[in-house]
Point group: none
Chain length 224, copies 2
């Protein structure tokens, strides 16, 4: 699951989108200034960039041009000016798509998925996560324990992948619930606990999933 960077000085929008994206298994990070945004781009690997046209420090168009010089990352521009010329200019700059504000989060997500589908023609991560005895292969959606495949249900696998992609990170139950497809996040249910319990059984004798009392869980594996 590749990360997405938003560069926009509107903190309220950033919060809103971060939450909404989580529900759709998209990982959003936010920069409020162009300088911070560029710094992050250089530091981390992102799969897509969302760029506001109205920014402090510098114009979004210029920023787009600047980034395009150094990277092929897909860019979606957000613009308050709805005029045609602006939109065309955005596309000619090298942006992959634009969206006039205000917009529905849902439409942004659809456009993102559309672009990601096109750019990463195959949605393969090519990631093989190796934790000593345990190996998680994200291409094949399978986990091996001492070379032998563990029989995981789809939810169990998704949970394991979530953990394995960010070992050491503490996940709350809400985060886990939102990330798993086909879960009806009611008020509060024990589903996550039981899922964790089942996964622990199948991962025995390794004790990789730690409980963080009062918070959630954490995967204590060390990548080899």
């Amino acid at each position: 699951m590749s990360k997405i960077l938003l560069i926009d000085d509107d903190e309220r929008l950033a919060d809103l989108l971060t939450q909404y994206f989580e529900q759709h298994s998209l990982n959003l990070e936010c920069s409020f200034t162009p300088s911070d945004g560029i710094a992050r781009l250089n530091q981390d690997e992102f799969g897509l960039l969302i760029l506001d046209v109205m920014l402090p420090e510098m114009d979004g168009f210029d920023l787009c041009k600047l980034i395009r010089k150094e990277s092929d990352i897909p860019i979606i521009m957000l613009t308050a000016r709805g005029e045609v010329m602006d939109r065309v200019v955005g596309l000619e700059l090298g942006a992959d798509d634009y969206l006039p504000k205000p917009f529905e989060p849902r439409e942004l997500v659809v456009r993102i998925q559309n672009i990601l589908k096109r750019t990463s023609h195959t949605r393969q991560n090519n990631k093989i996560l190796n934790f000593d005895e345990l190996v998680v292969n994200t291409d094949l959606r399978q986990a091996l324990m001492s070379e032998i495949e563990i029989n995981l249900t789809s939810m169990e696998y998704q949970l394991l992948e979530l953990f394995a992609l960010q070992p050491g990170k503490i996940f709350t139950r809400d985060e886990i619930l939102n990330h798993l497809q086909g879960i009806e996040a009611d008020v509060y249910s024990r589903s996550v606990d039981i899922l964790v319990s089942r996964l622990r059984q199948k991962l025995k004798p390794m004790e990789l999933i730690k409980t963080i009392r009062g918070t959630g869980y954490c995967f204590a594996g060390k990548i080899q």
Copy 2:
């Protein structure tokens, strides 16, 4: 330079665009009815399709779906209804982009060039998909397992190709239904399940099709 087909009953627009496109070295042909449009698509090779939503005979959305069943041609939808839901539906239908009327010819051209740029790379050269033991040849519409041809029915093959073109992608049953020819998507039927079941049998002993409970299926193969 590949040809572009416009399906729209507005003859004035057709003339206007034909002229404008010529200035940009784009070759535009026009159909004024869906039936004529489909006939031309079958007859000739087009690089892109522009589709109006408001058409005689049938709805543009339905037409889009229909064409998408049989072809991967890039589609841009023109719509007079500017509402978000409509637009989203357009993209979810399998269209590659949309443009609300009225629009500037210049913007349409920019979008066309954008899409052609994107699609020209990925299309074509994916004729033989190689997954270790399994090889899918889209030219011959056949699949080989350890060098031996698997006897697949046409639906089984289509499903396999759909999967194989986007390994790792999770398909919902609806998506699968829409992609397969000759399936009348009723309210809900088990056809997809049974099709998957049959394909799994024939792909044995490889376990490439994973179930994503509550969502659909996913092809877990790694391209060699």
